[in-house]
């Protein structure tokens, strides 16, 4: 069996270290080793975006990255959006605007739109649709997801928590 590798990552602000097999995918590392099951395995073929996490400030599909590649990186998962027990404006927006039905795609949608708002705090509808073009939702038809992001952008513009 190939030699195990040490992976050191800062996950949602907490430093973690673990020995892993090189073939372990980042999504399985997050769910099974770190116990953070908010990140979902959807299609497992880098199409659906349910496994999207933020790696060193950039969204990636964690089913298509090896955990060893994240060594030394900072990782943000959906669990990290909650601050001081308060929902992130995006989470609030998805709730207020019915941006989810079954909820399976939601963690990935939240991470993609989080990264979008970090880069562009006042996105147009087209920017939002472009920003979620790597995330599939089979329930909502995307209308309410767009509204949820607009809600969050509005909240953030009023100086809400980031």
């Amino acid at each position: 069996m190939p030699k195990k590798q040490t992976v050191r990552v800062k996950v949602n602000g907490v430093q973690r270290e673990m020995e892993v097999e090189p073939r372990l995918l980042l999504v399985h590392f997050i769910r099974e080793k770190l116990g953070l099951t908010g990140t979902h395995v959807g299609c497992d073929t880098s199409n659906c975006g349910a496994c999207t996490v933020v790696l060193d400030g950039k969204t990636v599909k964690s089913c298509t990255v090896f955990a060893v590649q994240a060594d030394g990186a900072e990782l943000l998962t959906v669990e990290g959006l909650l601050r001081d027990g308060k929902l992130h404006p995006l989470q609030e927006g998805f709730k207020q605007e019915h941006g989810l039905q079954c909820g399976f795609c939601t963690p990935g949608m939240l991470m993609s739109t989080y990264a979008l708002l970090e880069k562009n705090s006042q996105p147009t509808e087209q920017d939002i649709r472009w920003g979620i073009s790597g995330n599939l939702c089979r329930c909502t038809g995307y209308q309410n997801i767009v509204k949820a992001v607009q809600y969050a952008a509005g909240k953030l513009a009023q100086g809400g928590p980031r």
Partner: protein, 289 residues
């Protein structure tokens, strides 16, 4: 899906990476963005015993003009190309191309070098680099060598890169005045491979006739297709509607697509004709600005 086991190596320099390739030969694969390789490993279509992760090697990620070339590092991410002010101002064909590669998350990791070195005729940069007359820089035990893009794609998933070489840079000749280009792709949905796509780059002379013409086609053959007949036809001609229509037909004639879920052969040839026409029209519009 769990990929097969492999040994993971992480060199810090190019010579280190080349030494690893020399030691392990065919058993090793380079891990760049991983956005094609990892899915293939999950499907067991690729089973490298050793992965050499080049992501920590510095000096492989850049976008700059130097010595008459736009130099793109092998590790440069699609997302970096997409937002580069230099690329956006002078290389619209590259912006067109990077925009339609996969989706935002994949573009954050996927590299330009990987898109070429993978040797997949369904990838988007090959046709664009053919149109641009690019060069590929390979580093191996004997140093650096420059491969013209027209000699780079050998057969399906096979390039001119030797097993102990790494693609380190792509060089695109800086376009002279009166140049423009475009890349047009039809995909069934975001993230899908092209049903077909057409890349065009032209330079006009002072009278408005085509001086230099490059045309490449995506996913209509075992390798990326250079639409040589259309290029030859257009050279010396003005980009009027008649010339465009004839060139589009010649490009379609050179396409050798296979029928699959994306459509039958005739449809794809028709699509190449239409996309070639539109890409040439868009190029004409852009060059006159």
């Amino acid at each position: 899906m769990i990929p097969p086991s492999f040994e993971y190596l992480r060199p810090n320099t190019i010579p280190e990476a080349i030494a690893m390739l020399q030691q392990h030969g065919d058993a090793a694969k380079i891990l760049s963005g991983g956005q094609s390789l990892i899915p293939m490993m999950k499907l067991r279509l690729a089973r490298p015993a050793i992965l050499i992760d080049i992501n920590r090697i510095s000096g492989l990620s850049h976008i700059k003009e130097e010595g008459g070339y736009l130099k793109i590092g092998g590790l440069t991410r699609e997302a970096e190309l997409e937002v580069s002010p230099l690329v956006r101002s002078k290389y619209p064909i590259l912006v067109d191309t990077t925009h339609v590669i996969a989706d935002p998350q994949v573009r954050n990791l996927a590299t330009v070098g990987g898109n070429l070195a993978h040797g997949d005729p369904a990838n988007d940069h090959p046709a664009t680099m053919i149109a641009l007359g690019a060069q590929v820089v390979a580093n191996g035990p004997k140093g650096e060598r420059v491969i013209p893009i027209d000699n780079f794609f050998v057969s399906l998933f096979t390039t001119a890169l030797k097993p102990d070489e790494i693609l380190t840079e792509i060089r695109v000749p800086v376009p002279p005045p009166r140049s423009a280009g475009a890349y047009l792709k039809l995909e069934r949905k975001v993230g899908d491979f092209a049903t077909a796509a057409v890349a065009v780059q032209v330079t006009l002379d002072e009278k408005g006739a085509c001086q230099k013409v490059g045309m490449g086609l995506t996913n209509v053959g075992a390798t990326p297709v250079k639409a040589r007949k259309a290029e030859d036809f257009l050279r010396g001609k003005k980009l009027d509607d008649d010339a465009i229509a004839q060139a589009a037909q010649l490009a379609a004639d050179q396409a050798e697509p296979s029928a699959d879920l994306r459509g039958p052969v005739e449809y794809k040839k028709g699509l190449v004709k239409e996309l070639a026409k539109r890409a040439l029209q868009l190029t004409r519009e852009r060059v006159s600005k």
